[in-house]
Symmetry: C2
Subunit: 453 residues, 2 copies
């Protein structure tokens, strides 16, 4: 069976097909240079693609590949074995993933080429002949793109996985040692600059830029992975650029400058180094807050894993027809407890809720800290009635538990629970929304109760 996206090729009259192919080959051979340039001009307009394509060697190589690729498209035999054709597209998709050339830019380039070829066909050939060739060309381009896209997406996902593993591995190393040794490396560099200053005037010692110092290399090649996405990285980068581009040249050429100017330069250098030191400390500080997979207070799972886990559980449901339920649990009057008895008492209450949830669920169920005083529990292979029972037990269990809020003082509290059961929608967000709505009803209906969606 031929793949469905080559339907027009398949159903096309054979004579019509072979004349359309000749027409296309004519246009492609004649216009190849123009089409290839069109493709790369559009690429170059995107800043994201620039690093890959600005290099002239690359441009030439990729241009050559693209031209060859366009012409081989016409060799497709939709009746024959497509595996060679498909392999070629998949390999291309894999290379794009490896060189980080975004798929949507490739799709954009393909679309541009399609329009250009269509225009050329309409300008030169009879309308019917042009129209047939346009549809055929579109189909084969689309077919190639979908093969490429499949390989690209799987390559890009694989890359993201390994990068995350490496980042976490980097974080798992002894971070305290790294923090101290990089602080020391920074200080060492700044000391070398100061000593350089006191060297024989006029000797113009070559001062090492901070960006290529041990600290600089570490910062650009390791810190950028460890602290991925942190805004502080940008600030340190900015400070380093100011040092290397503005301050160091003035220090190196210091005979030319008078003493007052050098003093101002050194003062600025000192304040920038101090700033980098503080930012660095903050960066390391921020790690402990964000890296945790579990909430330190309640030991519940970090909600960042929610999409991953719930998405997976929903697709297991759809595959095997097993049930899945979700509890959304909220502590009643939590603010009042905090206000009256203080934050340590509030923390104690949250820990107690988590403990009672764990007591009434199984090892395969998953408990998330969802928000301040909210928990979300995924009950695997649990239908609506069973989920309601579990929720009731958790609610009753908590209501009957003494909460120690201060030395010798214990109070009782209540929780409200919304229950939702998966009803076939593939987007897990629907399930969460339903549980949330049920919780809202439980709250509005007087609290200390379980409501099922």
């Amino acid at each position: 069976m031929s793949p469905p996206p080559l339907n027009f090729w398949q159903s096309c009259d054979r004579n019509l097909l072979s004349s359309a192919r000749e027409t296309l080959l004519e246009v492609l051979e004649r216009d190849a240079d123009r089409l290839v340039n069109r493709f790369y001009d559009a690429f170059l307009a995107h800043e994201k693609a620039l690093p890959f394509l600005s290099h002239s060697v690359v441009h030439e190589r990729l241009s050559h590949s693209l031209r060859k690729w366009l012409l081989t498209l016409m060799e497709i035999e939709p009746d024959g074995d497509l595996s060679d054709f498909n392999d070629r597209q998949r390999r291309t998709g894999e290379v794009h993933a490896r060189i980080r050339l975004p798929m949507h830019l490739v799709l954009e380039g393909a679309s541009l080429i399609k329009t250009d070829v269509s225009k050329a066909l309409l300008a030169q050939y009879g309308n019917r002949q042009a129209a047939i060739a346009i549809v055929l060309f579109n189909e084969v381009m689309d077919y190639a793109m979908l093969q490429m896209s499949e390989a690209y997406v799987s390559g890009a996902a694989q890359r993201a996985k390994v990068e995350e593993a490496y980042r976490l591995f980097t974080l798992g190393q002894d971070v305290g040692v790294e923090r101290e040794s990089q602080r020391a490396a920074l200080m060492e560099w700044s000391q070398s600059v100061i000593f350089g200053l006191f060297g024989a005037a006029g000797s113009k010692p070559r001062i090492e830029p901070i960006s290529s110092s041990e600290f600089g290399l570490w910062f650009r090649h390791r810190a950028s992975i460890m602290f991925q996405g942190s805004l502080m990285l940008k600030n340190i980068e900015k400070d380093m650029r100011e040092i290397d581009d503005r301050l160091l040249p003035k220090i190196e050429n210091r005979d030319a400058a008078d003493g007052t100017e050098i003093a101002a330069v050194v003062a600025r250098l000192q304040s920038l180094v101090e700033e980098i030191k503080f930012l660095l400390a903050d960066l390391f500080q921020s790690l402990s807050a964000s890296a945790g997979a579990r909430d330190a207070l309640t030991n519940a799972l970090n909600r960042k894993f929610l999409p991953s886990i719930l998405g997976r559980e929903v697709s297991l449901c759809l595959q095997h027809g097993t049930p899945l339920s979700v509890l959304m649990i909220d502590v009643d009057h939590f603010k009042q407890i905090n206000d009256r008895w203080g934050h340590p008492a509030g923390d104690q209450v949250l820990r107690q809720v988590a403990e009672i949830i764990i007591e009434h669920t199984r090892a395969a169920d998953i408990v998330f800290r969802y928000g301040g005083e909210e928990f979300l529990v995924a009950l695997v292979e649990t239908d609506h009635d069973k989920a309601f029972e579990v929720a009731e037990r958790v609610r009753a269990g908590f209501m009957n538990t003494d909460l120690n809020v201060a030395d010798g003082t214990s109070i009782r509290g209540t929780i409200s629970i919304g229950v939702a059961t998966h009803r076939g929608h593939p987007d897990f967000q629907h399930l969460i929304d339903a549980a949330d709505k049920a919780l809202y009803l439980a709250k509005n209906g007087g609290r200390n109760q379980v409501i099922a969606a």
Copy 2:
């Protein structure tokens, strides 16, 4: 400036455009049902997409969205503000990533719709009118697809990241405890079956299937993440299916069967439980071998991180124009050392090579265990001459080191090194290949030497 992929819309004569739009809207409104069914039929032919689409509620909802989506495509104003249009496509791409609906299936469906619409246009309208409408329709579909694709890819990569983080987190838990408690859960289940057997005959005790026992739930919801991709998972699954589908029904209906048959069933059950126990032990055993980010022997980085790190370093090169070099290092006559002095001596040699590499490189450089007796070193911000120097120092350092191969006996060994420096190609594989070729020349040229590509 209008985005390049809407070039034909932009350059099209306004009267022609508005009549083509009307034509398209006519066809789309008339054929919407057929097109939507075409799309889903193609989807359903793919097993991978099945779980999401077989559910009738989903089918109806998604069909409704697709129909609406098709018609709103025609509302595009290429001269106007496209941000609403783009946002809509991106949201769709995000949802697809969330529900794990592969992008290439969406591209396939889009291509099918394009061909169908083209055929309808060619059949019904004048050739010129049809051709113009075909090109316009293709362009706007492609434009929507590229927006969708961008959001999808970023969503899918994000998901892969979080899933990997969760998997590693799961592995980071106390694995020994998990192994023992799941072995116990398995034994507990099999015991409950045996006790069930000795219950009053004819009382037909309800025996819990292994798949919904504590062990079964753990296996399907947690082990499948922890041991992702292991073939042993499939074997355990198969055994569990045989137990639940074939053996347990016979045990439950045991009055009907004679004693001999029951004995055979129980014997088979016992052997399957034993097999699961062994597979489980193997699974946990396999963890220690594969999970390591560093090679236990030499402390060099696992080569699984090579694509991620080298890909990143190559793109830093291209962005900042900094140099990057790679050393491929191989121990000369390693097999002979192993054969003559035994494997512990070989291990000692490998450790020594790693130590000497570390001694001559900086904190930001990265050392990989590349193969049996091969190491790959990425020297960041290092040009060709500098890399050659480093390689020479490593070679000379190793040559002058005593290798303790047995109590009191030490020998000397040599290494060969291939050096390659990044020359602008965005694919890091080129750099590795070049270093590999240089290493081959060093080996063939007599060993104990450095050759630069």
